[in-house]
């Protein structure tokens, strides 16, 4: 498969801009996505993720800047780009009135397969995706997990060089989410480049090799998972103590032992320590174990303990100094704009 261009990049954008009225939904985005990898685009609702994907998939015309997919300009050579990409949108991109089989045969025919070949490939895909039983049912009767599957199946009818997955697991239960992740891994293992947008840090962490964090239409951080984590921190330890009077003492201990940023919670017995990823080679779990030891030696009783990955909120706090909620008004505004654009 000729996925390699001279630069080895599947996607290259420079100063990409899209405005809807007064709102700059995408405000100068630069991306360089290496071919053959999963590239994560992480950001809250309305950050401009979907708008960016739509421009790259030739569905929206950029208002400024340039974007190339495998070296082809998304505006001037849209047809070339369309021949190499597939899109799985935020909402199932299949016809809900048709059955699973009909959807796949329809798209197979549109991709140039003969009647026989389209039927055969649909049958094989439905089987591989565990949808054989539901093949004759209308997609509107599918569960969320099944919809995602048929949607991804439709995207790989012809193995694409680049697959856009726009929030593929939003609204799925944890089990279905894991299954979608497995599918994505299988697709990438065959050499397809995947651009994955997500609101969940752990999803990007699980799948992507490089991650761009975007907020209000701008890339605010970009790098490998390791680089990103180093800037954000490895996670947080949440503690509940038996005795509220010991909280200050505990906080002091944690700061010394972990070099952590410790924050008291509204609950007088609770506190959160944000672990710094750069300070130590140890994993978050090792750091947390050390902290518990220190507390036990000082005679502080811990009733409840949990270790969490950094949340999207924490990422944003670390990168922008504001959390995702502060931009609530903006977000709603942009969401509306996105809807209009869709």
């Amino acid at each position: 498969m000729s996925t390699q261009t001279t630069s080895g990049l599947a996607i290259e954008t420079a100063g990409l801009v899209k405005t809807f009225g007064e709102t700059r939904a995408v405000d100068g985005v630069d991306l360089a996505v290496p071919a053959g990898t999963v590239y994560g685009v992480l950001g809250p609702n309305g950050a401009g993720k979907t708008t960016t994907v739509k421009m790259l998939a030739t569905l929206l015309r950029p208002d400024g800047g340039e974007a190339h997919v495998f070296g082809h300009d998304v505006v001037r050579e849209a047809d070339e780009v369309r021949g190499r990409v597939s899109l799985t949108g935020q909402y199932a991109s299949v016809d809900e009135d048709l059955t699973g089989t009909e959807n796949l045969v329809l798209l197979g025919r549109l991709l140039g397969h003969g009647k026989q070949a389209a039927r055969q490939r649909s049958g094989q895909l439905l089987e591989a995706f565990g949808l054989t039983e539901a093949a004759g049912k209308q997609v509107k009767n599918y569960s969320g997990g099944m919809r995602r599957r048929i949607d991804i199946a439709a995207s790989i009818l012809n193995t694409p060089d680049l697959l856009f997955l726009d929030e593929p697991t939003t609204g799925l239960d944890p089990r279905s989410r894991n299954q979608v992740w497995d599918i994505i891994r299988a697709v990438v293992a065959q050499g397809t480049t995947v651009l994955l947008t997500t609101q969940y840090l752990d999803e990007a962490d699980q799948l992507a090799s490089r991650i761009a964090v975007i907020d209000q239409g701008k890339v605010i951080a970009e790098g490998t998972k390791g680089e990103l984590k180093a800037s954000v921190g490895a996670g947080s330890v949440h503690l509940r103590l038996r005795d509220a009077a010991q909280r200050d003492l505990a906080a002091d201990l944690l700061v010394r032992a972990l070099d952590a940023h410790v924050q008291p919670e509204p609950d007088p017995v609770a506190l959160t320590a944000r672990l710094s990823g750069a300070a130590s080679e140890d994993t978050a779990a090792e750091q947390a174990a050390r902290a518990l030891n220190e507390l036990a030696r000082a005679g502080i009783t811990v009733d409840n303990f949990s270790l969490g990955q950094p949340s999207l909120d924490e990422v944003f706090l670390a990168l922008t100094g504001h959390d995702t909620h502060k931009t609530e008004a903006d977000r709603n505004d942009k969401d509306d704009k996105d809807e209009v654009a869709a």
Binding site: V94, L110, G130, N158, A186, Q190
Partner: protein, 282 residues
């Protein structure tokens, strides 16, 4: 509903990574489909939709029957002495009027579709761009044919006897379907241009009512005031209904057929490119 969904997700078979991998590797990329083949595939989609939601044939069955019955008995006695006399004149005209009215549902279905995710997928496919729209119209052409057959059947039951025989009737229906296909590009344009289904409906009514009623469908235009005659005699609907009336009566109204096809060509040339511009910009 919820119970069904739950059982399904619980029993959902696991994804087979091996067979998936084999499929991804084996997938050769066939040459792109021709414009014709892509359009026909979209036409097939329209037919599948009719199969799954047969209620949508209501507007091409019940509505045309109602039109024939209503106007035959409402005007028949007053305008031609008896309904049986009048239907000889009325049927080809009411056929034209009803089918042209039915074309406006094209805009509504385009408008409801663009709200859905599947439209984005179609637009990101490497296919001849107008084929999505042509597909709608091909599906609709089938609906127009059904409506025509239904109305003719009712007409014949009520006493309509076309002198043109089977050949004349088929030629009339063919001309009507071709014209409607071309005329529908107005609706694909409105379907893509307007924001909601309701506004598409509203605008369509504003266009379709004056256009179909201000014609020679019901009466000879010579009794109308001069300024109205000027409009009616040049209306595409008048040309079309004269042509269909002539063909079904066994004449060969070459002028009127030429006028109808000319208008049809004009509609495609004007509204086709506008539709495609909107489609690409959407």
């Amino acid at each position: 509903m919820s119970t069904v969904t739950q059982t399904e997700s619980r029993e959902l078979a696991p994804v087979s990574a091996e067979s998936l991998a084999a499929l991804l590797v084996a997938g050769e990329r066939p040459p792109r489909p021709s414009a014709w083949s892509a359009s026909m595939t979209f036409g097939w989609r329209a037919i599948l939709k009719i199969k799954h939601v047969p209620e949508q044939l209501f507007d091409v069955t019940a509505f045309p029957i109602m039109m024939v019955l209503m106007y035959t008995y409402l005007f028949g006695g007053a305008l031609a002495g008896s309904p049986k006399e009048y239907i000889q004149f009325l049927l080809p005209g009411i056929l034209v009027m009803s089918v042209v009215m039915i074309t406006m549902y094209t805009g509504v279905s385009v408008n409801t579709d663009i709200e859905k995710g599947v439209f984005d997928r179609f637009r990101s496919l490497p296919i001849w761009r107008p084929s999505t729209m042509v597909g709608y119209l091909l599906g609709d052409a089938l609906r127009y044919t059904i409506a025509s057959i239904v109305m003719l059947t009712v007409g014949i039951i009520l006493g309509y006897r076309p002198d043109g025989g089977v050949g004349g009737v088929l030629a009339g229906i063919a001309l009507l379907v071709v014209f409607s296909f071309a005329f529908s590009w107005i609706w694909t344009m409105f379907g893509l241009m307007l924001r909601s289904e309701k506004s598409v409906m509203g605008v369509s009514m504003m266009v379709i009512f004056p256009l179909t009623f201000l014609s020679n469908v019901f009466v000879d235009p010579s009794t109308m005031p001069g300024w109205l005659q000027a409009f009616v005699n040049n209306s595409p609907i008048t040309h079309l209904s004269s042509a269909v009336r002539g063909l079904m009566a066994g004449d060969w109204p070459a002028d009127e057929v030429a006028w109808s096809l000319g208008w049809a060509g004009l509609f495609v040339l004007v509204f086709g490119p506008i539709t495609m511009r909107l489609y690409n910009r959407k």
